[in-house]
Symmetry: C4
Subunit: 469 residues, 4 copies
């Protein structure tokens, strides 16, 4: 289950090996032997050595030109998340101006901006769509299964509104993030800077592609189904009548309405996937900041460092904690919606898995979608738990501080790391740690066992029954 | 879910902006720049500056006469809670004399007081009513649903007795509260003092109005129902026969009995709502005391303060903790009854929501009542969790103490904040924190899923069936 | 629920008021005013004053001769528990010699002692009885309900064996207890010394009487039942055939066998009740030792005490913790059996409460037994949780140590109190705290809700069905 | 439940008594009295005494030649685990060279080694077998019960792959373990060194024998069953047709296939048992390292030791923690598979226990297998929890450090022990502590209660039904 973050790490290591010049390798050897010597030597002599080493290192990046993208990146979260937000803007979320700009000070939010208007219009359109769904559901017998469209559209609507609110805070948040980042110990190599951005891009890319694949499969299975239950002669009309039954429950068929419905569906599906990915991306960003600090601590692990060093690191750690807190306040509603949504949908889909699948297209779509859902939930859980894990990792280096340099500052730092619970949360009702994964899994199994008792095999070929893409 | 406390905070900020004179704003700027300078300057110079600032500030309140009520308030819990207790006294609870007095030393409890007598008489009357309910329930088959009247009247009775006991302790409690309050760092503006009282009034007002609305709706639906199931020709008699079936199960109809039953019903409903509101109000009071301390700490955040300053704050924090403990001892039985009641009633009502509603009046009443119940439970949970949240917030300011002024007193303060669990509790069996909300929600879902299996659709138009307003 | 320990406290206070001579009252006043002065005065002057006070106090006990028993008691656990163990010995448990002796050094265990022989013989007899029960149960269809006799006799057997093992350790345990007790700050009044022993006696007395009452009721209901289902002409034979059906399942009726069965039943019932009471009594003993320490700390709360004072208290606290640990190791299997037994029996009895009672005698017996069971479980839980509660209370006094006398020893003491989990446990699988009560209650409700689904109304007048007293 | 580790301890003590020469006993007395004196004496004098004692002790082992094996052992984990790994290698797991070598530096892993090839071939063979099982299961209706073969073969396959990966890390792990071990305070007697190895051997031996007995019983019951449902005339063929139904579901009967199936079955069964034993053995190793440290601390309990002593112990403790962490990273997937497997199989077997057993052979096999399963699960849980328990035990000795030698190093050591959670884990999703046992038991009971509702009595004499050995 730790596979996702592990795979990345391996990729990174592979690349590291390839990129590292022989000069760096030699430096590492020097560093390594120095580390061993340090236990006998006094602290002062070693410091001078480190300074020289630093100066040498600062010359290194100019040599490693293997990767163009790596060269451009300055390792900031603002830059890494730029393209992700651009995609979101295209899908009517997060209407902030200047997301691809070099500096977070270029970010701005305005109600009169074209993106904001698009976003507001789409929210209005979603409200109408949600209303239609609600109307249809309330006019049919309600069950655990039948409220799926309301849960789906309702949470999409909620996320849209939260995202709009978040967009207004985004410029300030990014400025704060920038301040914290600037203050952190910098990576000496381009590779270090490039890592976070790369992970974020990969997560976004893989997530989008899988989500796209799922949508295509859903369309195929819907077309398959619609052609079987011929309501009209027109196959396209049949398809739209099926997939937007909440619209044609109140209105008669018309092409503009059908297109609007399709548009709504595509956008909703994207936003529904995007909220999970957004939580993942913010988690990757926060975890990577803790890792940046930990990497620095690892470099000086077991050495006699001055109290000033520890004081600086403590304040940097504190800053990341505050950053974590601010981000959590800003996105915790999204996190909450994302988790409860996944919990509900996994329960529903697992329950549906007891049905006999009417066709191969259905079966392929259904199992792909179920595995994608579980995988996505697991990925969100593990990535967001990694913030907590990384924040606790600092303790490992603090435990190795030698007796001689154990000072009040290290003590204070240690106590702060021990007593603080640094983690993303769902409205502070639950904290995202690895233990949560187990309790969520346990909850799903328990609910599932109880729900199975109410399950009756629905005949999916029953054409009167509502079908939801 | 954090909406309730958030809304308030927003309102407060809005008002702050309006009220603040330009003089205050300038002072803020001075303060802000001073804060930045302080990192370079020595502690002593800055202290003098703060003194001058203090003197200036003390002149300010005389200028802000925008709000009359704000001017009167001295920010004490005794004053803020006065009218709330007056209402309670009208409903035969908490018979303490002098609740609207200026000073808590005027409070007194006496067994010979008219309020106490009224209270005792009402308790006796409630015992009789409870006995009648018990008799009726035991003479019918018992189910999860049918014991509702006993749970309702039993818990009202329990709360009445606890409130009487609490009334005897109230004068001492308020005196202790007064001592703690006097010692706390005072708000410099009338607005700061006015906040807590205002929040308490608003909670009381909204709670009372919703409770009143619910009762009206319940009456309409009962009248509707009674007129359908004509037992006698008199519609009023029908109504009373329905809503007080536990009385007319043993006695034949008579107007005085009917009026007594109605009186009992109205009072019980109020007390049932009041217990939740009382827990909320005490929580608001305690949380606001922690906030008062935190506001002072925020003003000096990151500055070099003397050990005496921290020692004072630590003792003040300790005092609020002791206050919290005393209040918890006094009201924890009410808290316990309130929580278990809400848990039970939500389960019952959710189960009833599966019934088909016989009329629009019923449906409106039922859903209004269900939403009110859930909302009230959430409000109690969140307001009471805010005591814990505010008490932990102190840590945030202690984390920012600069290295230079890190002294044993700050260390001790920090350790005490970390290791103490400051929260209201239900008889110490559970502590009221935000995590509790999730576990309560989980419990409700689990029980509901199991209970659904025993559910049979009750025909509410079945006139023989007991109907409970 | 906190009522049990509270009632005692009240009684104690009442007695205190009555017993206290006017001299003591004056001393209290002196002490009180001195406490307030101490914040201004230097530590040394006050110490002298305390010394004088001590000398005065040491003269006091000679004056209060109001209670003869109080005069005799030396406040040791060995003395307090003596009569309790004597009763146990009569019922073939804990065969230790010298339990009523003045000093724990008189305690001894020997395999050749008459008590030990009786105990071993009874264990052998119980094994046979258990075997018969097992044989009968395995020859009938097994259900959650039908295994009750095995659970009952099996746990009684287990407790008997553990008690025999405990008896061998008892002399050493009591010696260690004596060492810890001698070292603790002594109560100055006979009343203080008398309290623990009195509580233990009362718990034993009330427990025994209720258990006796339950057994009488069980006999009445069994006689009632046996006379209805006449198997033979002899009513006494009928009764024995019913209550010892596991014996007469394999053997034909004979008076000696019937008497042996009756004897087994009476003894088993006592032992089954005794294990709960034993856990309670040990808990009372341990909690009272913590209280003794806390009472001393309260006397000097907020005063400037020397580091030596704190060092002594810390070591005393440590000693009680070690004592707690040793006792827990010795009795944790009994605790575990007691808790799981109560959990199982409450589930079974609650389930049986759904049956319609065949006669008034049955109903009275059944509800008395159910309430006794729940009350006893609650009492065990709360008394054993009080050990944990008292051990945490020490923190309250440590929080009030003034700044001036805050020294490394106080710090160490505080940290030890915070980080240690002092509580009785069930084989370390769970710790007995107040939170456990809630989770046990939750578990019972959940299991009950699920078990109800398998419930079929058993006709208790069905004479073929096994009936278990 | 604590019986398993307790039994060992007793055995050890018994042996100790026998082996100990009178010289050692006298030394103990000297040591004991010295310990008491130490509170009055100065630290320096005592140290000299201890030195002399040390020198005396170092002469002791030469005298105790009672046990040959004890003489050989050097107390290293590498040596203790050698034969265990040899057995594993025979069953195609952990293909490391040099496991029985004297020094861990002789360990090596190579892809070209014969063991590795055998292992890879067996994995390939298992994949085929797993595929066949999967094919058979998917071609029948799926239920909680019917997926047992997939779960079984799937987890065996997973463990095989993890073990291969672990084999590659093993040389480095053992080298690290060796470094940590060398640095620890050494046992002065051969007996101390011999303990861990002996425990590991006994666990392995008992585990293997029980597993072998279970397999024999399973064969007998399968032969019994096969002879009843005669498919063909050949009884051996019948047996193989039964036990390898997943093979003969796709292929017709042939002797090589049957032998391959049998081979697969025997090996899978062994590996399935081995994974639990492996977790136990690693736990015993880690716990014994903590015990080694604790034994040293106990020797100097309550004495005035120098800060250097504490600093050394702290670093040793830290090293074992790091070792624990590394081992956990390496085997946590095996732990996870082992626990979830046991959880699933206990649920399935308990559910099957409701079936009526068709023959005595079946009943004996079934109950033996169920008890073995529960016992094994309990043993894994308790042995792995002992790592956590031993790591917390250190605290006990730190609490007894006298006031005079309380120094920053002891403080730091104490804080580290308190705040670190040292325990094996299942992928960090859960930590293996004693509390886990209770929650696992609770989960099993809950699931069981729910699952019973779906249970239908399967007729095991139904010859068409799949039977799984």
């Amino acid at each position: 289950m730790k596979i996702l973050p592990k795979l990345e790490r391996k990729l990174r290591r592979l690349r590291k090996k390839v990129t590292r010049t022989s000069l760096v390798r030699k430096l590492d050897l020097v560093h390594e032997s120095a580390r061993k010597k340090a236990f006998q030597e006094s602290c002062e002599t070693y410091k001078n050595q480190i300074k020289t080493e630093y100066e040498l290192r600062n010359k290194v990046p100019k040599l490693s030109k293997s990767n163009k993208e790596a060269f451009i990146s300055d390792g900031s979260f603002h830059q890494a998340v730029g393209r992700v937000l651009l995609v979101a803007e295209f899908f009517a979320m997060m209407p902030v101006k200047g997301v691809t700009g070099k500096h977070p000070s270029n970010l701005s939010f305005s109600w009169r901006n074209i993106r904001t208007c698009f976003c507001v219009v789409f929210i209005a359109s979603s409200v109408v769509n949600f209303g239609l769904s609600l109307f249809k559901v309330l006019n049919n017998p309600i069950s655990f299964n039948s409220i799926k469209p309301i849960i789906f559209r309702g949470s999409v609507l909620l996320v849209l509104i939260v995202a709009l609110k978040l967009a207004r805070q985004w410029p300030q948040l990014m400025m704060f993030w920038h301040t914290v980042e600037k203050d952190l110990p910098q990576y000496k190599t381009q590779l270090g800077k490039w890592k976070m951005g790369h992970t974020i891009s990969m997560v976004m890319l893989v997530g989008m592609m899988l989500s796209f694949a799922e949508h295509i499969l859903s369309m195929i299975s819907a077309i398959n189904y619609a052609s079987f239950c011929n309501r009209t002669a027109d196959p396209i009309q049949n398809y739209f009548l099926r997939t937007n039954d909440e619209i044609f429950f109140v209105a008669s068929y018309s092409t503009p309405l059908a297109l609007w419905g399709k548009f709504q569906n595509v956008y909703s599906t994207f936003i529904w996937n995007y909220m999970d990915m957004f939580v993942m991306i913010v988690s990757i960003g926060l975890a990577s900041k803790f890792r940046q600090l930990n990497d620095d601590l690892r470099n000086f692990k077991g050495l006699n460092m001055s109290p000033t060093y520890w004081s600086e690191r403590r304040i940097q750690y504190r800053n990341i904690c505050i950053l974590c807190d601010k981000m959590d306040d800003a996105i915790s509603l999204i996190t909450m919606v994302s988790f409860s949504n996944n919990l509900y949908f996994i329960c529903v889909q697992l329950l549906r898995s007891l049905n006999t699948m009417p066709s191969v297209a259905h079966a392929v779509y259904f199992y792909f979608s179920l595995i994608f859902l579980i995988g996505r939930t697991l990925a969100v859980s593990l990535y967001s738990a990694s913030v907590h894990d990384e924040s606790r990792l600092t303790l490992r280096y603090l435990r190795c501080v030698p007796k001689e340099s154990w000072c009040p500052e290290v003590k204070r730092f240690t106590e702060e790391v021990i007593s603080d619970q640094v983690a993303l949360s769902g409205m502070k009702f639950f904290h995202l740690t690895r233990k949560l994964v187990l309790s969520v899994a346990g909850t799903i199994v328990t609910y599932e066992l109880v729900l199975i008792q109410f399950h009756e095999d629905n005949d999916l070929w029953d054409c009167d029954q509502s079908y939801y893409s």
